[in-house]
């Protein structure tokens, strides 16, 4: 029995929705309650379930198009069922009089209409004052142009739009929704892009940090007055090894593999609204004291939200440390357009087998798990493995190169 897939009304304020993504294509078999597309309203992106099982015979509304609720956007039917009348009626209701019935052309026209609509939207006028305000508030101008119905956008319109966004927390049917905008969305988009583009490959090793800890407490206290942390040591070692193994200090940009001559370490700092990554420049040419000072300075600035744009641009390799949260091990997503990211876990006191004077025995040691995520387009397993090997070497026997 043929049925329309319609644009659902998902809130009492919703009167139109945008087709974001069809999860199935024409000809696919649809199961009962299977999610077949995603739509977007003012508030969020929502999946839409099929109204019945069958074959997705026709897609009537393409991706990016916005239409009123309750209008047909697709047809599910049996494989051989005649749906001609349904198509004609749908086309009439959608007011696409020039829409031909056969599929390929239909898609093309859909695209054209969508493009025309986008053009119209983008041609909307925005006053300089309004543009400046929108930028200030972190609003997406293109999105705003699509959403607002006025021909010219003034500051007042921007302020109202922003207020509406902030105000929309609707409690309905056991869910609370807030707009996915601003910093959250920016970070989300970037990480999605990284994960979906770069084939991630992960390697973990356990590092015995006992000697490093001792070094910090006993030896360095006497020599250096400032407080040096384990993290500082990790940064120093990372910078050094990267300097020695530059194959991991690169990016894939515009069809070229760009190898950086400097090591600029990104330091992942967790803030309430999201992740900030200030950049420690020329980490490979700094000594422990200078590196520590700079790292602490940047992290402080990040926490105070006082970082300037140049402070969080230009990193070549990122280090993320979640040890203080008791995380043993994790696989971070690479910070694009870098080639790799180092994830540091907590230092745990656990019983381990060590060798003393040629004899094996069990001792309680400080063990820290270090994981590297690499972009397999740029870095092979062996390169990553070698990197980790040296990281481990220096961290386990730090005295050799620090003093």
């Amino acid at each position: 029995m043929a049925k329309y897939i319609i644009m659902p009304k998902l809130g009492f304020n919703m009167d139109q929705g945008t087709v974001v993504r069809w999860l199935k294509k024409e000809g696919d078999t649809i199961k009962e309650r299977e999610e077949i597309l995603e739509i977007e309203t003012d508030k969020t992106i929502m999946p839409v379930e099929a109204p019945c099982p069958g074959i997705l015979r026709k897609i009537l509304v393409g991706e990016g198009e916005t239409i009123a609720v309750a209008l047909p956007i697709g047809i599910i039917a049996e494989e051989k069922e005649d749906i001609q009348l349904l198509i004609e009626e749908a086309v009439r209701r959608l007011e696409k009089k020039d829409q031909p019935i056969t599929s390929p052309k239909g898609e093309e026209t859909n695209e054209k209409v969508a493009l025309a609509k986008t053009q119209l939207t983008l041609n909307k006028k925005v006053s300089p004052r309004a543009q400046r305000k929108a930028k200030e508030l972190g609003l997406d101008l293109t999105q705003m142009k699509q959403d607002l119905k006025v021909d010219t956008i003034n500051e007042k319109d921007v302020l109202n739009y922003y207020k509406k966004q902030q105000d929309t927390t609707v409690k309905m049917k056991g869910l609370t929704s807030i707009p996915y905008t601003g910093m959250r969305k920016i970070i989300g988009d970037r990480l999605s892009q990284s994960k979906f583009t770069a084939p991630h490959l992960y390697f973990t090793c356990s590092v015995d940090m006992t000697l490093a800890q001792q070094l910090l407490i006993t030896k360095l206290k006497g020599l250096i007055s400032e407080k040096i942390t384990i993290n500082d040591l990790i940064l120093l070692v990372t910078a050094k090894v990267l300097g020695e193994q530059p194959k991991l200090n690169c990016s894939l940009l515009d069809g070229n593999i760009v190898y950086y001559h400097r090591v600029n370490l990104g330091l992942a700092v967790a803030l309430e609204e999201g992740l900030m990554v200030p950049v420690l420049r020329n980490a490979d040419s700094k000594n422990l004291r200078d590196l520590s000072q700079e790292a602490h300075r940047l992290i402080q600035l990040a926490r105070e939200r006082k970082l300037a744009p140049e402070d969080y641009q230009g990193s070549t390799f990122t280090v993320s440390n979640l040890g203080m949260y008791g995380i043993e091990q994790f696989t971070a997503i690479i910070n694009p357009p870098e080639a790799a990211i180092l994830s540091i876990g907590e230092i745990k006191r656990i019983p381990t087998v060590i060798e003393t004077n040629g004899k094996e025995e069990i001792a309680v040691r400080s063990i820290m798990k270090v994981t590297i995520s690499v972009d397999h387009r740029l870095i092979d397993g062996i390169v990553a493995a070698k990197f980790l090997k040296d990281i481990r070497k220096y961290l386990e026997f730090p005295e050799k190169f620090i003093l």
Binding site: S127, P128, R129, Q131, R132, E155
Partner: protein
């Protein structure tokens, strides 16, 4: 303490006070002596100061303006009255080629402490050649300061400063104001050049209005306030030098600007003000800048034709309302 006198009397007081204060100040022009000025701006002065200091001239604008330059270069501080700004065109060479330029051409050897008073404004059925407001031309030529007061109190204070100024000043009076009564402060006071006056504060639109349009704008403001539109009225007072800072601060606040001036629309002083301020206000503008001026036609004689053309309180009200409706 204030007193109520006419705009013409206020100007006469300014001239009188300055002539009493400085024996080198004199006034010359057509009908200033025996008649006391065609607009009564020099009443009683000739009896008080004598013929040499209050001089009736023949109808020789170009030359008596040129003479005033010769006087200014040789120790005197003349005030020249040119009856209508239209007649300044007869003296264009002396005003624009000589007076405006002589200090510069001499490499700074001389200063020219000269005040040229003239009148603008339509509304008396004086037709095309006696009703123009040509101050934009005075602004275009470098070397002249241009002062354009709104009310009688403003005129008195600004004229005294203009007379004391050691540079050529063109002082623009509005002929429809001369017989109007105004409150002016008692006693001696001056108003500095180059400092605009915010007549009324508002947050919705900046209205920069010259001469008596500033007063009309304030009246229109009350009507507009009833509709919830709060306009900020600024009287620029001097066009050269222009108080950019006050104007910019206002536009930054409101995001909208309307300039009202009685000159012809084309090449109106409004165009210059907007361009002058534009680098500092572009990103603050919510709407394109607007202007209310005379249309680009000579002024016709019949009141039925003339009055609908002149910018006034009603037109200001309508124009501003339209901006907020759109």
């Amino acid at each position: 303490m204030t007193k109520k006198i006419t705009y013409a009397q206020a100007i006469c007081e300014a001239i009188d006070e300055e002539m009493a204060r400085d024996k080198n100040v004199l006034i010359l022009g057509e009908d200033v002596g025996v008649l006391g000025g065609n607009f009564k701006t020099a009443m009683g002065l000739q009896e008080k100061y004598g013929d040499l200091r209050v001089k009736d001239t023949p109808i020789s604008e170009n030359s008596f303006l040129g003479m005033s330059l010769g006087m200014a270069l040789t120790g005197l501080r003349p005030i020249v009255e040119i009856m209508f700004s239209d007649f300044l065109l007869l003296a264009a060479d002396q005003l624009l080629n000589q007076i405006a330029k002589i200090r510069y051409m001499s490499g700074g050897q001389v200063k020219v402490p000269l005040t040229v008073r003239t009148t603008i404004g339509a509304g008396r059925s004086s037709a095309a050649q006696h009703s123009q407001s040509l101050h934009a031309i005075m602004c275009h030529i470098p070397g002249l300061k241009v002062v354009i007061p709104s009310s009688a109190a403003e005129a008195k204070g600004l004229l005294k400063t203009a007379i004391r100024e050691d540079n050529p000043v063109v002082f623009i009076e509005h002929k429809m104001e001369y017989n109007q009564l105004y409150e002016i402060p008692e006693g001696e006071y001056t108003i500095p050049l180059g400092k605009a006056n915010v007549l009324r504060e508002g947050s919705d639109i900046t209205v920069i209005a010259t001469s008596n349009l500033a007063l009309k704008a304030v009246k229109a403001a009350d009507e507009l306030a009833k509709e919830g539109i709060e306009i900020e009225v600024i009287d620029p007072r001097t066009l050269i030098p222009l108080d950019r800072d006050t104007l910019i601060a206002s536009v930054k606040k409101t995001g909208k600007v309307l300039i009202a001036d009685e000159g012809y629309e084309r090449c109106n002083i409004a165009a210059e003000i907007v361009m002058d301020l534009m680098p500092d206000i572009f990103y603050d503008l919510d709407n394109p800048p607007e202007r209310l001026c005379l249309p680009n036609f000579p002024l016709p004689f019949s009141p039925a034709l003339e009055f609908p053309l002149i910018p006034d309180q009603q037109k200001l009200y309508k124009k501003i309302k339209k901006i907020f409706e759109g």
